[in-house]
């Protein structure tokens, strides 16, 4: 393995790392990406083999997977549990590919609603990068949604299925907005990917290759354009010289051997938990509190989203296990601030299809709805393929006490300190969750559901980690500037959702990839004076 110096070192090959690598490739600079995980072979995805619902090695929580490429995340002190995937493609390997964009108002929450902070950039700045990212990922949807700014769609929408149609009917009954979800799923062949076969369990990887994970979207293009991607390379720290400029990184290879990689520019793309971890682990005389942490805000302002989940039960089978589990329809009825409500900002309601047989049975057993004995099968038949959920993804306001910090006791398989999450839902989020849960119940009632679950907001999972290295123009109040460069270290950039200033009421990947393409373009435009 050659550790010759490179022009650009990218750390992390997930959603944002892939996008930035592809975009920078046309500069012809020498670009290297170090990724702690492996390439994943789609033939090994659970949906291609027996026991597909319960494969531990594809569990969404790293603490359940416990692969040596994972790092421990202590989230006992958080009602929202952190999920991710560590490998080429990052979280997109397991994501549900629900692909909404942030709304224009999400970038202006302080001026519009007096909460959070305004971003130093706006929707208009990102619009061309959203479009470019959509073309690279391939977005299925229907143009004309009155709840969102206009945009082009590459592919026809994911079919609603019986479940989606029942729920859409509920929204119509109430006179509320709904629209087919924008989904990063090839509903027709797209850019060498085959069409979705409606297998269902997208959140354990897509064996068909229809879901836009970056190992099959950006990476093949970036590698063809000359980017080098080195897997099983876990970065311990970013190194600096006496002048406080980044000089590269120290990493461990698959065999635990330590390497030093020199680079002129370092780009961090390790996600809202992995990025602050790496920055805080990069301690030097120049940066005793971690690199790029002059503001003291690295790891602070963590936003995981306020989520309210309600499950609805129908009296007939609804094909709920068929079709992309997280992509059917959304409602923006309660997205924007309404002064008559007990909270500022808002949420998107998203439909989650039902689980498979094992998931249904495990859930039924846990909820005491699946007895032992002669009633077992009848009870199971009442549950299986008759339930779906509404998941409200609510804007979570940035609060400094919500943090990612280094764990003083726990380390990963290379001995690098792991992380602790400290996170509470603020009053605004709690009020929003209650509102969203009640509205979800109304939708199910209008859709003819025979029963609904209580509102679930604790113990829910989030792969949406944002805000821990936020963007801004004031070095005392932000970690990176308005184009992603560290205020303190002029050749160090952050491109993932750590830089988010607000969390919006939507899933983050479309926006974080647009942000990373925008940062890459900002770098390209300034190549001659990048470090000024």
């Amino acid at each position: 393995m050659s550790n010759e110096p490179v022009d650009v070192l990218i750390i992390g090959a997930g959603a944002s790392g892939a996008a930035v690598a592809w975009s920078l490739a046309d500069t012809r600079m020498r670009i290297l990406c170090l990724e702690q995980g492996d390439w994943v072979n789609p033939a090994t995805y659970p949906s291609a083999g027996p026991g597909y619902e319960n494969r531990q090695d594809f569990a969404i929580r790293p603490n359940d997977r416990r692969l040596d490429v994972d790092y421990p995340i202590d989230d006992d002190d958080s009602p929202v549990k952190v999920v991710n995937f560590n490998g080429v493609g990052g979280g997109t390997i397991l994501y549900m590919a629900h692909f909404p964009r942030f709304h224009p108002s999400d970038f202006r929450t302080r001026s519009l609603d007096g909460v959070g902070e305004d971003w130093p950039i706006d929707y208009a700045t990102l619009a061309p990068y959203f479009a470019e990212n959509d073309r690279m990922m391939g977005v299925a949807g229907l143009a004309g949604d009155p709840g969102c700014p206009p945009k082009e769609m590459q592919l026809p929408p994911v079919p609603l299925g019986k479940l989606g149609e029942r729920i859409a009917g509920g929204f119509n009954e109430l006179g509320w907005h709904w629209w087919p979800s924008e989904s990063a799923i090839a509903t027709e062949p797209y850019d060498g990917r085959d069409r979705c076969l409606n297998l269902g369990p997208c959140s354990s990887g897509c064996a068909q290759g229809a879901k836009a994970s970056t190992d099959i979207t950006y990476w093949p293009h970036a590698i063809r354009a000359g980017v080098e991607l080195r897997t099983r390379c876990r970065v311990r720290e970013i190194t600096v010289d006496k002048k406080g400029m980044a000089t590269g990184a120290i990493y461990y290879d698959e065999n635990g051997v330590e390497h030093e990689q020199k680079a002129a520019v370092v780009i961090v793309a390790c996600n809202g938990v992995g990025t602050p971890r790496l920055l805080l682990n990069s301690v030097s005389t120049a940066f005793p509190d971690g690199i790029a942490n002059g503001s003291g805000l690295v790891g602070k302002n963590l936003m995981l989203h306020a989520m309210a989940v309600v499950q609805g039960q129908f009296d007939s089978r609804i094909d709920g296990f068929m079709g992309p589990i997280g992509c059917a329809l959304w409602s923006k009825e309660f997205y924007e601030t309404d002064p008559s409500r007990k909270f500022k900002r808002g949420y998107t309601m998203e439909i989650v299809r039902g689980g498979g047989p094992a998931g249904t049975a495990l859930n039924g057993m846990a909820m005491g709805m699946l007895p032992w004995g002669s009633e077992h099968h009848t009870a199971f038949d009442q549950l299986f393929d008759k339930a779906g959920s509404i998941c409200a993804v609510g804007e979570d306001l940035a609060e400094e006490h919500n943090t990612v910090t280094l764990d003083p006791e726990v380390v990963d398989s290379n001995g690098i300190p792991a992380v602790k999450i400290a996170y509470t839902l603020g009053e605004n989020s709690r009020n929003m969750i209650e509102h969203a849960g009640e509205r979800a119940k109304e939708v199910f009632a209008a859709a003819g559901a025979v029963a609904t679950s209580p509102i679930i907001s604790s113990g829910v999972s989030s792969g949406h980690s944002m805000g821990t290295a936020r963007m801004g123009t004031d070095p005392a109040r932000s970690v990176v500037n308005e184009w992603g460069r560290s205020h303190d270290v002029k050749n160090l950039f952050v491109v993932d959702s750590s830089v988010f200033v607000t969390s919006a009421g939507v899933n983050p990947t479309s926006t974080l990839q647009a942000v990373s393409l925008y940062i890459a373009d900002s770098m390209k435009k300034r190549l001659a004076n990048l470090f000024d």
């Binding site: 995805y45 949906s47 291609a48 083999g49 026991g51 597909y52 619902e53 319960n54 224009p104 108002s105 519009l112 706006d122 929707y123 208009a124 229907l142 004309g144 009155p146 709840g147 700014p149 929408p157 079919p159 299925g161 149609e165 009917g169 929204f171 119509n172 006179g175 907005h177 709904w178 629209w179 087919p180 076969l197 409606n198 297998l199 269902g200 369990p201 064996a207 068909q208 094909d319 296990f321 068929m322 079709g323 997205y335 924007e336 498979g356 047989p357 094992a358 249904t360 049975a361 495990l362 057993m365 032992w372 004995g373 002669s374 077992h376 099968h377 009848t378 199971f380 299986f384 393929d385």
Partner: protein
Amino acid sequence: MSDILASDNTYTESERAILTLLCELMIPAGNGRPSAADPELLNDILPRLSTHESVLKPGLAILATLSLEKLAASEQVALIHQHREAHATFFQVFESQVIQAYYAHSIVLTSLGVNAPSPYPQGYDVQETDWSLLDPVRGREPFYRQLETEE
């Protein structure tokens, strides 16, 4: 059945008998589906239970004292219910392993109309969507907040 069980030495014969009885009590045959104690199913269930030996063995020792086999089926289930709370960990592990094996078995999946053993490569045909459902929404004016800089 003994042929199938012979390959697994984790549990003694009497422990295996209790596990088999528990499988039968938890999921008997019905609604066109086999019992979890059916040899085909046990073949998948027992290896899973073997990986939880340390949790299950102590519970099996307690259950052995109940002489379950001497009771009528309804009494057996009633007795199990009494013990479920007191030995919560044993039953959680047992139930979860049985469910994961039972509801992943091709016989069960097929009877439920689910592709076996896995969704891929057949996939599913989802019914075509009738997009006229959207007509009430299509008529609505844009209602996302439009900002001056965006216009």
